[in-house]
């Protein structure tokens, strides 16, 4: 296996994510990718209208550096580290094609049916992306963390609140994919 150009299996990706968490802990910080949303809102002046954003956000500027790094990392990986087509379970790919006319599994990283620039000509697609983003941002801050902050950091520290949040993530995700997708994308 060529570690640079081939997709990474789970047993490479998972341990490296744990390593990122430990690197941040050793730097005196913690791993959680949604607290930067609060920092960014505070930096843009949201403290004028909501107390939640009145805090010492400058001490959290480090998490905006992690964000900048993640952007650069995405650029490097997608441009210089090989083919980015994602091969999922063929049965799921076939079901996506039959139910939602999403036929790009195995050929691309994200479905162009939703994420291509052309798809943005459709207001429905813009609404899907915007509402999805709002739910992610609102839910992550209401729940006090996301897949990294609760799912990795919190569970690693054996936090019951994180287990509740992760169960919530799955309840929400399963409702969306199994009950709401047929209504939204049919």
């Amino acid at each position: 296996m060529n570690i640079i150009y081939e997709p990474w299996p789970w047993y490479i990706g998972g341990p490296l994510i744990a390593l990122v968490m430990f690197l941040l802990l050793f730097a005196g910080r913690k791993f959680g990718m949604s607290s930067n949303l609060r920092t960014a809102c505070a930096a843009m002046g949201a403290g004028k209208v909501a107390d939640y954003f009145n805090y010492d956000w400058k001490s959290k500027r480090w998490n905006l550096m992690v964000v900048l790094g993640a952007i650069i990392g995405g650029f490097i990986a997608s441009h210089f580290m090989g083919n980015s087509a994602v091969a999922i379970n063929p049965k799921v790919a076939q079901q996506l094609a039959e139910d939602y006319q999403i036929t790009s599994a195995g050929e691309s990283y994200l479905p162009p049916e939703i994420f291509s620039v052309e798809a943005l000509g459709d207001p429905f697609i813009i609404a899907v992306l915007l509402v999805g983003g709002i739910l992610v941002g609102f839910g992550a801050r209401y729940g006090g963390g996301c897949t990294s902050g609760h799912g990795v950091s919190g569970l690693s520290n054996l936090q019951i609140p994180s287990l509740i949040a992760v169960i919530g993530f799955f309840i929400g995700g399963l409702i969306m994919v199994h009950l709401l997708y047929p209504l939204i994308f049919a």
């Binding site: 299996p9 789970w10 990706g13 998972g14 994510i17 744990a18 690197l23 941040l24 050793f26 730097a27 005196g28 913690k30 990718m33 949604s34 949303l37 609060r38 960014a40 949201a46 909501a50 107390d51 939640y52 480090w62 550096m65 790094g69 993640a70 952007i71 650069i72 990392g73 995405g74 490097i76 580290m81 379970n89 790919a93 990283y109 994200l110 939703i114 994420f115 943005l120 915007l130 999805g132 983003g133 739910l135 992610v136 941002g137 609102f138 839910g139 729940g143 006090g144 897949t147 799912g151 569970l155 520290n157 054996l158 509740i164 992760v166 929400g172 995700g173 969306m176 199994h178 709401l180």
Partner: protein
């Protein structure tokens, strides 16, 4: 100088997210269809190694490079905010197929549409800040 460290950790994280396919819409969808072990393996192995490492840090009282103690405070107690916040997050995660780490990674990879998800996430965080006093926690 410290900011360079955070930048480097972010770059490393971005590459991992992209190369492990954890930032792919297809993998998220497949996970919620229970179509593959891939995402469960990523999360599960990260957590198992995380639990072991955190235990070692606590038992040996290992300290960060220039601090007094590791950032491992217990989370606030409660159920409501974690359950309902979590469910809302999950709905968005599956609808856009993106969560807060990968959205930046995908923006860097050149997916312009993801900027709409990021703007949405900022709006969502802002709305939470506005509504926080009225929300059950």
């Amino acid at each position: 100088m410290r900011y360079i460290t955070y930048l480097a950790i972010g770059i490393f994280f971005g590459i991992i997210m992209f190369k492990s396919e954890a930032a792919s819409w297809f993998r998220i969808y497949e996970m919620f269809q229970f179509g593959s072990f891939h995402m469960y393996g990523i999360m599960g192995s990260a957590v198992v190694i995380g639990i072991i490492g955190v235990q070692v840090i606590k038992q040996r009282n290992i300290k960060p490079i220039d601090g007094d103690k590791m950032n491992l405070e217990p989370k606030d107690k409660g159920v409501t905010r974690y359950l309902f916040g979590g469910i809302l997050f999950g709905l968005g995660w599956a609808l856009a197929g993106v969560c807060p780490g990968p959205m930046y990674v995908l923006a860097g990879a050149g997916y312009v549409s993801v900027l709409i998800v990021i703007v949405g996430a900022l709006i969502g965080a802002f709305l939470y800040g506005l509504l926080k006093p009225k929300m059950p926690h």
